[in-house]
């Protein structure tokens, strides 16, 4: 069942009310209870067009998209974070910003999102409402409209509370050619600030560490910052948001795709003291911790200073800094110049990072 939602005023719609405090299988059954849930939680949060009936698909104006660029960018991502709510955001903010950022790092201007939610029987409706609300807030901040969605309910134990999948559409302006395979020897590797905040915030919020951690997730929409970067450094080769697997993984992907070597400078790597302390304590490497508001940019050396200076003017780029250089060593190899001046390989992560015994 798909409901068409549009970001318009819902005041003139008569919205049905959902009853009860928890999600039941009836809320996914296709009948009245489901309609109540969609109306009361999702349509109320995301908006819908006038009082027209909800259709099975969103109908988007092609001319408006075409005015943004000459190619459609189209991406999808599933979100399954535990816990659902954490310092600095929740699964809803992630689901909006994550997909917005996946569009933006291709140079696209994000416009529309879909939102498919899988709910576990027994979940509190108040939680669903909060998450829908934060998705709506995030969409407003990112300037995108959530225009279609779906709700399913599965029996208790068949999923972990709530999963969200968002799909995003945007247009890439003519002439903009960004790619991870375009890094060239001599280029500079830039990030827009503290690394590893999201990963550390999530681990801290899980509670099994029993650490009273003050670390907040960095989740944020990066498309405006990327516009600033591209204006200052039009020769930018490629961008990636450093989510799962962290900066180390992204830089490895860039080195492999471009057939170049990359050297990172440990001294330049921006880490909050709290995140450093967290990683020291658990024996984790912050380079592999997830970020949700950090990008890795490959910029020609001649434009690197301008890029960093421009990004630093934007609230999401205050900590922008060059952390490495591309060179013509062994293709795909990423190394790090350590604090001591030694050198080590920075490889792709194998499996999950596991805390060390002692």
């Amino acid at each position: 069942m798909t409901a068409v939602l549009r970001p318009a005023a819902v005041d003139d719609r008569v919205l049905r009310k959902v009853s009860g405090a928890r999600v039941t299988l009836a809320h996914g059954g296709g009948g009245k209870a489901m309609k109540d849930l969609i109306d009361d939680v999702f349509v109320r949060a995301f908006g819908a067009p006038g009082d027209a009936p909800l259709e099975d698909q969103a109908r988007l104006d092609l001319a408006a998209l075409a005015a943004d660029g000459d190619r459609l960018a189209f991406t999808t991502d599933g979100y399954v974070v535990d816990p659902l709510e954490f310092p600095g955001g929740d699964i809803g903010t992630l689901a909006v910003y994550g997909t917005v950022n996946d569009l933006a790092v291709g140079g696209a201007r994000p416009r529309f999102l879909s939102c498919a939610v899988i709910l576990e029987e027994g979940l509190e409706l108040a939680v669903v409402r909060r998450i829908a609300g934060s998705m709506a807030d995030a969409a407003r901040r990112a300037g995108v409209a959530i225009v279609t969605g779906d709700t399913k309910v599965v029996p208790r134990g068949a999923c972990d509370k709530l999963f969200v999948t968002t799909t995003g559409i945007g247009a890439i302006p003519r002439g903009r050619e960004l790619g991870v395979g375009r890094a060239r020897p001599g280029d500079t590797v830039i990030v827009n600030g503290w690394l590893g905040d999201h990963g550390a915030a999530i681990l801290g919020a899980r509670g099994d560490l029993r650490l009273d951690s003050p670390i907040t997730s960095d989740c944020a929409p990066l498309h405006e910052l990327i516009e600033v970067l591209l204006a200052a450094a039009p020769g930018t080769r490629g961008l990636r948001d450093a989510t799962r697997g962290g900066v180390a993984t992204v830089v490895n992907e860039i080195a492999a795709a471009s057939g170049v070597a990359i050297e990172l400078d440990e001294h330049a790597t921006p880490l909050r003291p709290e995140v450093r302390g967290f990683c020291e304590l658990l024996g984790l490497d912050p380079l592999y911790l997830a970020n949700e508001g950090k990008l890795v940019a490959i910029v020609p050396a001649a434009e690197a200073d301008a890029a960093v200076a421009a990004m630093a003017e934007h609230p999401l780029g205050k900590g922008s800094v060059a952390i490495g250089t591309v060179h013509d060593g062994q293709a795909g190899r990423v190394t790090m110049r350590t604090l001591l001046g030694g050198q080590r390989i920075v490889d792709m992560l194998i499996g999950e990072q596991l805390p060390r015994i002692c």
């Binding site: 302390g277 030694g342 050198q343 194998i350 499996g351 596991l354 805390p355 002692c358």
Partner: protein
């Protein structure tokens, strides 16, 4: 970060590496082969690779990565035993994170978890005890693993469980002790080690005195060292100075943490709870007398080996595996026949490839010596 950054200072590291080179110039010409220093502890191995320390040292000095990684010396049979315990109905099997990936003969704990067994990662044995309290209808077993560093926390947890009268908590005790193992290495034929970096955290518990035999009987210098890069460099320098002066003594570089007599409270808990096993099986090194501990009979109620039928599986190391030679310093990780081919961190054959403290995994992950175009590295990849 206070008490951390001071020990990662590049300028001081440069001074130390220059000093190391200067001392080496005095000793190296008198030797036929490079000076070999073994860092006993996996924590040192990790620091050495993480900070690229080998690349800062002259080629007349070689670091040999020793057996002090508890996950690395775990034989396959013990992992099979863990899984056999976890297969008992109602068991929640808890373990430190990095033991999850160690291969058993058929599967690792991580795979067993995927197959549906209730295997959970904890950060401390006290977390496992808390799990037992909150799941009174389940049997919670903690996989007690590690050298003297982790022995006291397991012992104190058992004492707490006993004091509270918790009845559904037990420990599968695989704690091991470093001294007999050092002895076994020193007794192995064709030994080429000139000195040792002693284990910093083990020494926090047991002190420096138990290492005196290394100096007295085997005439090798041993310096107990910390884990920050400057600790490691200073420790190496102290060993070299002893060699240059013809001394063989136990010295303490990690005096800010390690006391000569160790930690009395921790030692008291250890001797209350454990007794030595007649022998214990080590991966790659075989059976070593008195190298493991088990719970004393008084704590049988908390002993998973008493409470469950543990098969005590004897599984030979894979034939191609040369973990033993690497552990003894006869081979460097990349010289093993299967390094980087049959044995990688994704599909580890030998346990040295499993933990990030394992010599092979560290060598693979961080690349070891990156001199001269890195020809030593991952030659086969």
């Amino acid at each position: 970060m206070k008490y951390v950054d001071e020990f990662r200072d590049r300028a001081r590291a440069t001074v130390l590496t220059a000093e190391i080179a200067r001392v080496l110039e005095r000793i190296a010409p008198t030797r036929q082969r490079p000076i070999k220093i073994m860092e006993v502890c996996g924590g040192h191995t990790h620091s050495i690779f993480r900070y690229g320390i080998e690349g800062l040292l002259p080629s007349s000095l070689e670091l040999v990565h020793g057996p002090g990684c508890p996950v690395c010396v775990l034989p396959m049979g013990r992992v099979d035993d863990c899984i056999a315990i976890a297969e008992h109905p109602g068991v929640i099997f808890t373990t430190f994170g990095d033991a999850m990936r160690v291969p058993g003969s058929r599967r690792s704990l991580l795979q067993a978890k995927a197959d549906g067994l209730d295997v959970r990662m904890v950060y401390s044995p006290m977390d496992a005890l808390a799990l037992a309290r909150s799941n009174p209808d389940r049997e919670v077993v903690f996989f007690g693993l590690g050298f003297e560093t982790t022995m006291p926390s397991t012992a104190l947890t058992i004492l707490a469980a006993a004091a509270e009268g918790v009845r559904n908590f037990s420990v599968f005790c695989n704690h091991i002790t470093i001294v007999p193992t050092l002895k076994a290495i020193l007794d192995s034929p064709g030994l080429e080690l000139d000195g040792f970096l002693g284990p910093g955290h083990v020494s926090t518990v047991i002190g420096t005195a138990p290492f005196e035999f290394v100096a007295r009987h085997y005439h090798r210098p041993l310096v107990v060292a910390g884990f920050e890069p400057l600790d490691v460099l200073q420790g190496i320098w102290m060993v070299l100075v002893q060699l240059a002066q013809g001394r063989a003594e136990v010295e303490n570089q990690y005096a800010r943490v390690v006391a000569q007599r160790g930690n009395r409270q921790a030692l008291a808990a250890v001797s209350e709870v454990y007794e030595l096993r007649p022998f214990f099986e080590w991966r790659g090194l075989g059976s070593i007398d008195h190298s493991g501990v088990r719970l004393r009979p008084a704590f049988a109620a908390f002993d998973a080996e008493v409470r469950f039928a543990v098969p005590n599986a004897q599984i030979a190391d894979p034939k191609a595996c040369q973990c033993g030679e690497v552990l003894k310093g006869v081979l460097r990780p990349h010289e093993c026949k299967v390094f980087g081919t049959a044995c990688t961190p994704e599909t580890p054959l030998g346990a040295l490839m499993v933990s990030s403290e394992g010599a092979c995994a560290a060598s693979y992950q961080y690349g070891g010596r990156l001199r001269t175009g890195g020809s030593l590295l991952r030659v086969v990849r």
